[in-house]
């Protein structure tokens, strides 16, 4: 091994860097950081002081505004003088731009909170003080925020003079300004809404429409124009908004325009037009509604049906009847049925999951007849099914012969045992029930046929594990499973018994089910007292009394027996040219032991021999015994013999720490000594003695301490050994006990914490690695 100091790795050469630049760079960043923090501090202080000043100003303005708002002509002379003085004072104050701004803010805030006469006085005060002039100036700004705030201010304070200035912004490219202008125009003058609808070129968002409607709603003495005039607008958003306004203000004078809009390409407008038609009961729209129906989208179709339901009459039933046959969409079909019932009440009655009246009346009468039907159906099915299965087997065989190079096919099961099949059978039986009264014999034939067809068409093919393709060709597993007949609960249900089909080429597998809970497939054995049913050889007997031949109760109750039997079966057996696969279950303990043995085989050595001997003595399972013996042989002969392992000639007697110690520095050596103290044993004595003799004083002292500790531990171990012998041999019975020091006990405890020597070595290795790598 090459000492680490002798390893030479050529380092990648890096370009030289002038450290002076680094210093300059650091200083620059520091200066920038200081400037940044100073800037933040100044801005923060400025904002705080401005807020403080604004607050103070508001408190100062507040009583003045109150005086103005609640001034009455009936006030006393003194109050009138006070009012005049305040007016002069406030005019002086607003000469300062800051004060003017604060006063505007105050008035705008109060405008929102006050109503009635106070609000009117407030608006007058705003105008009287000339604060609106500053808002006009804002409209001329280049910044969209300022323009927007100017429009808002003028709108809030209801400055009518600003109308002419604001309408310019109706089609402004900046969305916020445009929307603010739209609200202002509608708000300021009654004709504003007309101007807006005439001139706007942009989209009117849903939210904006709501806001505009809110403005209109709150306008006092507002007389809405006829919004039908704007249904011809080229801006589809204007048309849509107009339709909504028509509906809101209930203006039914635009009937033709609205009906025409049913043909509009935009679905929103179509839907809104349909709403209007419904709202105003435009019966003349019915032909157009029917006309546009065919090309309409699902939601529009539903809206049209709804409208027809509202405004239609019985003459429209024919159209709806056609739709009932034509429509496939569930939602539309539901709406069609609903509309039919609206136009012609109770014309459509519930049909889903409704049993016929015969079901309730003829149940008792038909019980006997039904039993006969069941028997005949059962016989027919048991006769027909094997033939069908045989056909399938032949087909499968042919397929396999045709594709000999195919990879392993996992399962081959032909089964009819799903819930769906049971339901189908039930349906068929119900059908039989209903028709028993009329002609039992005819129905039986039809039912037999249909059941047979179902059983054929819905056969499920699964494939069992296959090793040899020739063998698989001969092996087919078939199970047919249906519900048990429950005459007391259901009128007619029956259960197809599990079928096991076997011939020289067919292996039997039976599935059992009880109340629809399917238990896993299991192999049948001769020991289970179940007679195999060889379809091809025993068709005749099977037809006659197959049910009686099989002891199903025994089968269903013998699961546990089977489990234990299965575990004893060989994994693969070859009988009569047939390969049988069986599950080989292992007990949990055995499995654990096998896992342990495999781990020992992978990582263990001769030191595991005692454990293996123990396992050999404890276990009886032949599998475990075989594997244990294998491992004992392996470790006994491929490794040093146990008696050689601990001899002085063997390397193993040397401490495992020796090599690591020799390549470590002083600090590492000290750590290593601590680890030796913790986990070392007598093998470390030689190493420790050599350290005491050869190493420096510090290391020698530490080694002495460790040596002393290890020796004390050896004494303890010997004492334990004596105790063990003493317990086994009465000769060693003494009337005193060997005591352990507290430190020794602690040490023993620490060694008993479940860590193996391997774990501790790993831990020590990690500690050393961390130490070396800082």
């Amino acid at each position: 091994m090459i000492p680490p100091r002798q390893i030479k790795i050529s380092l990648i050469t890096a370009p030289e860097f002038n450290l002076e630049y680094l210093w300059w760079l650091s200083i620059s960043f520091m200066v920038l950081a200081v400037l940044y923090f100073i800037g933040i501090f100044l801005i923060r202080n400025r904002i705080t002081s401005t807020n403080g000043r604004t607050k103070d100003k508001k408190i100062e303005f507040s009583p003045m505004i109150s005086e103005f708002l609640f001034y009455e002509d009936s006030n006393s002379k003194e109050e009138k003088m006070n009012y005049l003085n305040l007016k002069i004072q406030i005019r002086e104050l607003i000469k300062d731009s800051f004060d003017r701004r604060v006063l505007t803010e105050v008035l705008l805030d109060l405008r929102k909170d006050l109503s009635g006469q106070s609000q009117t006085v407030l608006i007058e005060l705003y105008k009287d003080l000339g604060l609106h002039n500053e808002a006009f100036e804002k409209l001329a700004s280049r910044r969209w925020q300022i323009i927007s705030s100017g429009i808002l201010e003028l709108t809030t304070m209801e400055v009518m003079e600003s109308y002419g200035l604001i309408i310019k912004f109706i089609n402004h490219r900046q969305g916020t300004i445009r929307k603010q202008a739209e609200i202002a125009v509608v708000n300021l003058k009654e004709e504003g809404i007309g101007f807006f609808l005439d001139n706007t070129k942009y989209k009117i968002s849903e939210w904006q429409q709501l806001k505009l409607l809110d403005v209109l709603r709150h306008k006092t003495n507002f007389e809405p124009p006829l919004f039908g005039l704007w249904l011809t607008s080229t801006n589809s958003h204007v048309v849509l908004f107009s339709l909504r306004l028509i509906k809101y203000y209930r203006q039914s004078d635009a009937e033709k325009s609205i009906i025409t809009l049913l043909k509009h390409k935009k679905r929103d407008i179509q839907a809104e037009a349909i709403d209007c038609i419904k709202e105003f009961f435009f019966v003349s729209a019915l032909p157009t509604l029917k006309m546009v129906y065919s090309k309409a989208s699902i939601d529009i179709k539903i809206a049209i049906l709804d409208a027809i339901g509202e405004i239609g009459s019985k003459s429209d039933v024919e159209f709806i009847e056609k739709l009932k046959k034509k429509e496939r969409n569930f939602n539309i079909k539901s709406k069609v049925l609903g509309t039919l019932n609206k136009l012609d009440p109770e014309s459509i009655l519930p049909t889903k999951n409704i049993a016929s009246s015969d079901y309730f009346s003829s149940e008792a009468e038909n019980n006997d007849d039904v039993s006969e039907v069941i028997e005949s159906i059962e016989n027919e099915i048991t006769i027909e099914t094997p033939e069908i299965i045989s056909q399938n087997i032949i087909e499968i065989k042919e397929d396999l012969v045709e594709k000999p190079n195919e990879p392993i096919i996992e399962e081959q099961i032909v089964s009819i045992n799903s819930d769906e099949h049971l339901e189908l059978a039930e349906l068929k039986i119900n059908e039989v029930e209903r028709k028993v009264d009329t002609d039992v014999s005819e129905e039986i034939t039809s039912v037999e046929e249909s059941v047979v067809i179902d059983s054929v068409s819905e056969i499920e093919l699964c494939f069992l594990p296959k090793v040899d393709i020739d063998v698989v060709e001969e092996e087919e597993v078939i199970s047919i499973n249906l519900e048990t007949v429950q005459e007391d609960e259901r009128p007619l249900t029956f259960d197809f018994l599990p079928l096991i089909i076997s011939n020289p080429s067919i292996k039997e597998v039976i599935t059992s089910n009880e109340d629809d809970d399917f238990v896993p497939l299991f192999s049948l054995d001769e020991d289970l007292d179940i007679e195999p049913i060889e379809i091809e050889n025993q068709i005749d007997s099977f037809q006659e009394n197959v049910i009686e031949e099989i002891d199903w109760t025994n089968v269903l109750n013998s699961n546990s027996y089977q489990d234990s039997e299965i575990t004893k079966e060989p994994l693969i057996s070859f009988e009569n040219e047939t390969v049988t696969f069986s599950a080989n279950f292992m007990l949990e303990d055995e499995l654990d032991t096998m896992v342990l043995l495999e781990n020992i085989a992978e990582m263990g050595d001769c030191r595991e021999l005692p454990m293996l001997q123990e396992l050999l003595a404890e276990n009886t399972s032949p599998l475990i015994l075989d594997r244990t013996n294998e491992l004992i042989q392996k470790f006994s002969y491929q490794s040093p013999r146990p008696n050689e392992l601990f001899s002085s000639k063997n390397d193993l007697v040397e401490s495992v720490f020796t090599e690591v110690y020799n390549h470590s520095d002083k600090e590492t050596k000290l750590i290593l000594l601590q680890e030796i103290k913790r986990i070392g044993d007598k093998k470390e004595i030689q190493l420790l003695e050599s350290i005491i003799n050869t190493e420096s004083k510090t290391l020698a002292i530490s080694a002495k301490s460790v040596l002393k500790h290890i020796k004390s531990q050896i004494v303890v171990t010997n004492a334990e050994a004596i105790n063990t012998v003493k317990n086994n041999n009465p000769l060693f019975d003494v009337d005193f006990e060997l005591g352990l020091s507290v430190a020794s006990k602690r040490m023993m405890k620490s060694n008993e914490n479940g860590s193996t020597i391997f774990d501790q070595l790993c831990s020590m290795s990690n500690t050393l690695y961390n130490k070396i790598n800082g």
Partner: protein
């Protein structure tokens, strides 16, 4: 000496206006800008009428009604000021024992009339 009105509102501007109006109407007004102040004041002195905003820091108008009616066991008239569209709070206030309510935007004159009416009822 006029009747004492406790005006509880965190909006300084509006409170100042209402204060001014009520004082002008001949009432002695004590203004508190948050629920804590209101609580402290009520522990020491009971006004003839309380005018309170529903939304207040620390202690809402609803809690104030509950405090007055259930803890202080007082029947002092309470007028609630609430924003429009806050019907649920108004209903809660009435359930707890508020006597009247007025919605924002407030007409100071209307408030004055309502205060006078409640005091007269008492």
């Amino acid at each position: 000496m006029g009747k004492r009105v406790l005006l509880a509102d965190d909006d300084q501007l509006l409170a100042s206006l209402l204060n001014f109006r009520l004082k002008k109407g001949g009432y002695e007004v004590h203004h508190s800008s948050n629920g804590k102040e209101v609580k402290e004041y009520l522990k020491t002195e009971m006004p003839d009428i309380i005018v309170s905003d529903i939304m207040m820091p620390y202690f809402s108008g609803i809690e104030l009604i509950d405090f007055v009616r259930n803890e202080l066991k007082s029947n002092v008239p309470i007028i609630i000021i609430s924003s429009a569209g806050n019907e649920q709070n108004v209903l809660s206030a009435f359930e707890l024992g508020a006597n009247d309510f007025i919605t924002k935007p407030v007409s100071p004159t209307e408030l004055l009339v309502r205060v006078a009416r409640e005091i007269n009822k008492k």
